[in-house]
Symmetry: C2
């Protein structure tokens, strides 16, 4: 699967993914109004607004990008109606030829991780039939429970040619509280990096492994060290733009071949119309603002590669 | 909320919760058959079987127990249909007067954790209205992202009188890979324990905090240390029974007052009919086997308190 992602990145010349993390506060008034008129101010109405918002952004950006990364929490907050739109968004993006990275950060003891892996990447057996539930190409995974909590995801990656990105060093301000603690002189995120390399070793797909890592854009010195520790691991890089990471900060996440990382931007793209820089588009043309923001982000990142 | 849980534990004299983690392989043939006859071998059929199985177990155990702990992964694997049954199970247990601990192990950067907290414990604003999506009393939370990833859950606990259990030391075999690593001579799980105390300090509800901890039954020496480090923190204790933890192992999780811990059993209760010990009930009477297993588990645990 990582090979497919790489080919799409090379074809689009865009090592980025768009984070489809739709907060209601990002959605323009006219989109909300239309959905509320049809369904009322209900969970169904909110979910419909999220869907229309997503669809318009995807319709205006799909030809420029290799992948999207919907954050499932933003859908889960609207309950079943929200999760239906998560699924619908995943399917729609796949129809458009996009690779979908489900950002769910799941992780549990073995048998439970196996159920999550089934839910998001694999197939569940029902009697003599098999079904895929959410069926994204990639999923983000939390490593706090150790190998037996991650292994079921790796197994599904092998069986179904899917991929995961394991949290190594996250982009948020307090990520260091636990992740930077020194164990025999080495930070915890380096120990997790060693594990990611181990888990991914027999899960290669071309030059890179289907077991990737989440490495935040906001800690560039650490990215450089992690890049060396995990030469065959693809990085999913959050934290660019709204969270403070710059293109210069990102360079360390890439290998010499210009590959090795895919950079996410959520707010910076999907709510671009609310930025001074893209205000000229106006809320009515929010998706055109998103398209321009994608073009600018790609140019910005390629300028340092 | 923790005070309500304690009162229910005292009333039932049962410091336990039943893990509603229904794998299809646990569900008796006659239950599956009935659902497949109605809905076919579909995700809807699987979800219907899960619902009927859950309902019968709850109907046969609710008067003996204070709480249930549905593991959301087991529902998520059946997609939207499964999650509808998760929600339906939560509502049904609440109608029966049970406290529901949603076992979802969510955790992310701040704004995303806020959405998860809203989804599972809080209320989401849609225009001028407010809705609760999954609305459980408690939720399990993963601490790998540090304070800003946990704080939004704590904030919702305060606003809505809900509770969380933060993963400190999990029950699985490889939990030590990361959690036992020594930082300045102290294992990572102790550092997380310190954080749990800090996060819970201004979230007290009677003698205990609404911010609890997950502490596995399978590492009793560690439980004893954690009990001392977190005297006002309630422990949610997985790992009893099927995972290998015994009643003797559990003693260390409790305080002198006989409070401080609630022990989960999933397979051991819901699939009791498959054990030699309860075989006499037969698959037809699986829920009666579950009831007997609850009686036996309560007696076993109370024998060491």
């Amino acid at each position: 699967m990582i090979q497919q992602l790489i080919e799409k990145i090379q074809k689009t010349k865009a090592p980025i993914c768009v984070g489809l993390d739709p907060m209601l506060s990002y959605i323009p008034e006219h989109v909300l109004k239309k959905s509320f008129a049809e369904y009322g101010e209900t969970l169904e109405g909110a979910a419909d607004a999220v869907w229309n918002y997503n669809k318009e952004i995807v319709d205006h950006t799909w030809d420029l990008i290799p992948a999207v990364k919907p954050q499932i929490a933003m859908y889960e907050q609207f309950g079943i109606e929200g999760l239906k739109v998560y699924e619908r968004t995943v399917r729609y993006c796949q129809e458009k030829g996009l690779i979908v990275i489900g950002d769910a950060k799941r992780g549990d003891i073995g048998s439970t991780s196996a159920a999550y892996a089934t839910a998001h990447l694999g197939k569940v057996k029902v009697g003599s039939k098999e079904y895929s539930a959410f069926n994204t190409e990639f999923l983000t995974v939390n490593p706090y429970l150790g190998t037996d909590g991650v292994k079921p995801f790796v197994d599904v990656c092998k069986a179904e040619n899917k991929g995961i990105f394991v949290l190594v060093k996250t982009s948020n301000p307090s990520s260091g509280e636990l992740q930077d603690k020194l164990v025999d002189g080495r930070p915890v995120y380096e120990l997790v990096a060693d594990k990611v390399v181990e888990w991914g070793a027999d899960c290669m797909d071309g030059a890179y492994s289907n077991v990737g890592a989440v490495v935040g854009a906001t800690y560039p010195e650490m990215s450089a060290i992690l890049r060396k520790l995990m030469p065959k691991t693809y990085f999913l890089v959050p934290g660019y733009g709204a969270q403070g990471g710059t293109a210069k900060d990102l360079k360390a996440c890439f290998n010499e071949d210009g590959l090795g990382a895919i950079v996410n931007s959520s707010r910076g793209i999907i709510a671009a119309y609310r930025q001074e820089k893209y205000a000229k588009f106006g809320a009515e043309h929010f998706a055109e603002a998103s398209r321009q923001a994608v073009v600018d982000m790609v140019a910005d990142i390629n300028s340092v590669l």
